[in-house]
């Protein structure tokens, strides 16, 4: 029993954090929202070079995976830095395609996913009804218990998070049938990585809130001296610290009968923890946190968007109870 990241996993995590810290991801988010995906695509290339996308792709298709623990590490960092784009969807699609064996669809797309060349969007109705960034994705898939189909995305609906464009899809002809297991596996992995992304967002919001509380003065003192502020921030740390082991516990349950249950536990906990982090961040920052210009507001909005993405907390709680 060694339930902590090993040295290599920690190094990988730190490398991603350093890479993204130097990359001005807030600018890439704003550009993505304005329809300019170039800075975001550049980020994706850098992440692919660091090996992120290969983690979800089987070795037979040019990947290094699937490696669920490392994927959770990566998704947490991508969330922490609010990286734009459908990376959860792309990684979940890799899981879906990886389960299709030597299907031509898998052979065509998995190597491109591993290399970071393909942005893939994916819908899994009813839980994942819209294609995230379906207008800029290189491939849009839709899957249900029966079939996997290529789809075309049309129109689009604005999200609270301006960097998330959600598109309804029109499914094409079935490419693969009898895909129930693959669809279910894609949903579970996507929900797990969404939870990891949420945890990273929550951590980033806690960090920026603590920094603000240390410097912002009111009544002649830094607001972080006041217990009313301290206790809010302490509660956020408690929630985040106890959500994280659920994520890694679920990652270790990958391909066991407990995986779905543990993913749902992690997703419900990460939703609650990141949402608390966002509410507290708003409260600690006061008016400035409520403005569009202030970068952490991008994180705050993404938290609420992801709260119900990849299954609402209620649906995940219900799945936990059903499994007990």
């Amino acid at each position: 029993m060694k339930f902590v990241l090993d040295a290599e996993q920690r190094l990988f995590t730190d490398t991603l954090h350093a890479l993204l810290t130097g990359a001005d991801t807030a600018r890439a988010v704003r550009a993505w929202a304005a329809g300019d995906t170039k800075p975001g695509r550049a980020l994706w290339s850098a992440l692919a070079d660091a090996g992120v996308f290969a983690l979800a792709v089987p070795e037979a298709h040019g990947g290094a995976g699937p490696l669920p623990v490392e994927l959770v590490c990566a998704a947490e960092q991508l969330g922490r830095h609010a990286v734009p784009g459908p990376f959860v969807e792309t990684l979940a699609a890799a899981e879906l395609l990886g389960r299709l064996g030597d299907d031509p669809l898998a052979a065509t797309w998995l190597p491109r996913i591993a290399a970071g060349e393909a942005l893939v969007s994916l819908t899994l109705p009813p839980a994942v009804p819209y294609a995230l960034d379906g207008d800029v994705a290189d491939l849009v898939l839709t899957a249900d218990a029966e079939t996997v189909r290529e789809a075309t995305a049309h129109g689009g609906t604005a999200s609270l998070d301006p960097s998330r464009r959600l598109l309804p899809v029109v499914p094409g002809e079935p490419l693969v049938t009898g895909a129930a297991a693959a669809s279910a596996a894609a949903y579970d992995l996507g929900a797990l990585l969404c939870a990891a992304q949420q945890l990273g967002l929550g951590r980033a919001l806690l960090d920026v809130s603590v920094e603000y509380a240390r410097t912002r003065q009111q009544f002649g003192h830094p607001i972080g001296e006041y217990q009313a502020v301290k206790h809010h921030l302490a509660d956020v740390l408690v929630e985040l610290e106890y959500a994280r082991p659920l994520l890694f516990g679920a990652a270790l349950a990958y391909r066991t009968p407990e995986f779905s249950r543990d993913v749902s536990a992690a997703k419900a906990a990460a939703s609650a923890a990141s949402y608390l982090a966002a509410r507290v961040a708003l409260q600690v920052h006061g008016a400035i946190g409520y403005t569009d210009e202030y970068d952490p507001s991008l994180w705050i909005r993404k938290v609420r968007a992801l709260y119900s993405a990849w299954g609402s907390p209620a649906s995940h709680r219900a799945r936990v109870v059903d499994a007990l």
Partner: protein
């Protein structure tokens, strides 16, 4: 990273499970907060002690089995899953012993620990005073130097287990001229000492779970001072830190409780009550989180230190939520005497003792998040 138990843990699990199956009383013992119940639990502690099951992680020379922390977690999982009785000597096994291992003399270890491991001497703690709870450094009861030892005076309160226990440990102000945290001395004393009056106090449900102690020139010999006289604060903090960590509330306790809660859900729940179903899910998820966090804690090689405050806030809130959910599942029967109700009353104290959760949140904010200290 893995969550796999090795052969040493699995073998130990099998042994513990078999032992518990052979020894756990078929009928639950009466509440240990009553005279009869305390006596029954004392007897159970002796049964455990006879087979070195009181403190399995202690070295063999003190009556333990010298097993690893992971094996200890396994023991606790099995213990609670078997529905074994509550532990009447937790003050001795988890608080006093931890302090002695760090600050005690070899003579004290050899004299004090084996009777605990044998279930022979039951300990009470004597920290709080009427004017000093969370502000423990505000203690006013005194230890005055005398030939060969100290004379204790003053009053303690909320002294857990004191109505029926044999001995107690606590802090007394010995050097009043020194600062608040200085000049305190950590001593052990018998509860039937001359000059000592024990007055039981009923808790919320009326059961005498703790007592007030009135001390009038109670003699303590030098050999019963823990650590250096006047430097009791340091020793006391190692006790408090441990109390907030895993040993006071091992994850196995919550896993066993939530398993019973799930059974209660199956028996009693209205499936259309999604609000209650959501609460059940959250409690289960949090128990699972606590268990996994425990594995993380023992996988780490560093001292968790103030991170124990995170643990304390988490389990104390979880314990209340778990029992509230059970009482709500029981509906109108929730007010009737039952093990769930007893557990509920016990859980309500968790956010208060071992340092209130407000104190813990200050520690988390200042020491883990680096926020500035300020006026309280």
């Amino acid at each position: 990273m893995d969550l796999d138990f090795g052969p040493a843990e699995e073998e130990f699990r099998t042994e513990v499970r078999a032992w518990l199956r052979a020894h756990v009383p078929a009928e639950p013992l009466p509440s240990l907060e009553t005279a009869d119940g305390f006596a029954a639990h004392r007897e159970w502690e002796r049964t455990l002690g006879a087979d070195r099951m009181v403190a399995v992680s202690w070295p063999r020379e003190y009556g333990g089995r010298g097993v690893s922390l992971l094996q200890w977690l396994v023991f606790e999982e099995e213990y609670y899953a078997a529905g074994a009785p509550g532990r009447v000597n937790q003050n001795g096994t988890d608080l006093l012993a931890t302090t002695l291992f760090r600050h005690g003399t070899p003579e004290q270890l050899a004299r004090i620990l084996p009777p605990i491991a044998a279930g022979e001497v039951i300990w009470a703690q004597a920290w709080s005073e009427p004017g000093a709870g969370s502000d423990l450094a505000g203690l006013r009861s005194t230890a005055t130097r005398t030939r060969g030892g100290w004379l204790l005076g003053g009053q303690k309160t909320w002294s857990s287990r004191a109505p029926f226990a044999d001995r107690a440990f606590g802090l007394f102000r010995s050097h009043p001229e020194a600062g608040r945290h200085r000049g305190l001395t950590y001593v052990m004393f018998p509860l039937d000492a001359d000059g000592l009056t024990v007055r039981p106090i009923g808790r919320l449900d009326g059961k005498p779970a703790f007592a007030e102690l009135f001390l009038d020139e109670v003699f303590v010999p030098d050999e019963d001072v823990i650590g250096v006289a006047g430097e009791g604060w340091k020793a006391a903090m190692s006790t408090a830190g441990n109390e907030r960590g895993l040993t006071l509330r091992p994850p196995g306790r919550f896993m066993a409780s939530v398993d019973r809660l799930v059974e209660l859900w199956r028996e009693r729940a209205d499936p259309s009550d999604t609000a209650l179903r959501d609460r059940l899910a959250d409690v289960w998820i949090r128990c699972q989180a606590y268990r996994l966090k425990g594995f993380e804690t023992i996988s780490r090689e560093d001292d968790i230190g103030v991170e124990a405050s995170l643990t304390k806030v988490f389990w104390s809130e979880l314990d209340v939520a778990l029992h509230e959910t059970a009482l709500d599942l029981l509906g109108t029967d929730g007010e009737l005497t039952s093990p769930w109700l007893e557990g509920y009353v016990f859980s309500l104290a968790g956010t208060i003792y071992a340092g209130t959760n407000e104190i813990q949140r200050n520690l988390i904010a200042e020491r883990l998040l680096g926020l500035p200290r300020g006026a309280r």
